[in-house]
């Protein structure tokens, strides 16, 4: 009996020792990582109002000086330099509808210069206005996924010029918008 018990204990303890030795550390460990990426709507733009300088004239003679009309992008108001005088018409800033990812900031680029129709007057100093924008050349798409910015510019008016009863518009220029 005395000899039997130690053998059993020995066997049990050895089994435990071997078992514990191989199981002391897990053979592997793992970690799972989940990344994230949000696939957003493409940004797009469409024009809703044509940039329109309205009607104006610049008389001739000694009193005439080369003039400009600047159309403010925020309000659409016109202000002049030189001898040009404003007439009626349907002057307005250019307006755009931009759609894209909600709450995204976008940048814009505008041409250095173009010409108006129908008289091919030089148009420069394009300016951009977004009510939600951060700066003069950026806008912000609202929570609903859209923004409605405006574009203004300056038109040069030579002497002896009169739009007559027609509006002087800028129907064609490229407004490029990109996410920032």
């Amino acid at each position: 009996m005395l000899q039997t018990i130690p053998r059993r204990i020995l066997a049990a303890l050895l089994a435990g020792a071997l078992s514990g030795g191989t199981a002391a550390g897990p053979p592997s460990a793992s970690w799972t990582a989940t990344g994230s990426v949000t696939i957003s709507q493409t940004i797009s733009t469409s024009r809703t109002l044509i940039l329109n300088f309205g009607q104006f004239k610049n008389g001739g003679g000694n009193a005439c000086t080369p003039s400009t009309i600047t159309l403010e992008p925020r309000t659409g108001a016109r202000r002049t330099t030189g001898s040009v005088s404003l007439a009626g018409g349907a002057a307005t800033f250019g307006a755009y509808a931009i759609t894209g990812a909600a709450n995204s900031v976008y940048g814009v680029s505008l041409p250095e210069a173009t010409v108006s129709l129908p008289h091919a007057l030089k148009v420069t100093d394009f300016r951009f206005y977004s009510a939600a924008g951060n700066s003069a050349m950026t806008g912000r798409i609202g929570p609903g996924g859209s923004d409605t910015p405006h574009v203004g510019a300056t038109i040069s008016v030579p002497c002896d010029f009169d739009t007559g009863n027609g509006n002087e518009v800028v129907p064609s220029f490229t407004l490029t918008v990109t996410y920032q």
Binding site: L14, A24, S28, W31, A33, G35, V37, T38, I39, T178
Partner: protein, 179 residues
Amino acid sequence: MAMVRAIHVLAAAVSVMFGAAQAGVITIAPSPGVANTPNLGKVVATAISTFRVDAASGIVTETGTAIRIPSSSVTTPQYTVTCTGSGNPCNTSKLVTVTIQANTTSGPAFFAALNVSVASGTLTSGPTGQNTQTVSFIAKSAAPGGTVAVFNVGMDVTIPATPIGSKQTPAYTITTTNN
């Protein structure tokens, strides 16, 4: 009395055996202070495109028509492999194999490939592979609780044509095996 003495002796012997046989425990965890999940932010894709995040630099390059907003570098996830345990478990040569596997290789956004940059550790092989990366280290000199290896993970994130505005959460799993 003889039996009691025998049991004491055996118990002491087994105690020594336990200590000698106890292996180090290899663990892996994100390095402190380093983001453990890659976040590409917002992307716009009109066709299948891929963003490659370089593990070492975090620079993101784009192929295809997609753009990413913003386009700046990201902080790549960094992991630390550690050997822990009582006594001195890692003073013997121990091979640690790390396998990083993309959980899926299809769907609205997935890791088409993975890349690894090893910051520290004694390499024995790798990194090799594409959407499964394997790299092996030697943990021989790691002190108890010491660092076996530190590495960063980069990835190719493929964006197929997907419904707009959707947030996707591709995943990968890192497994360490000590041999």
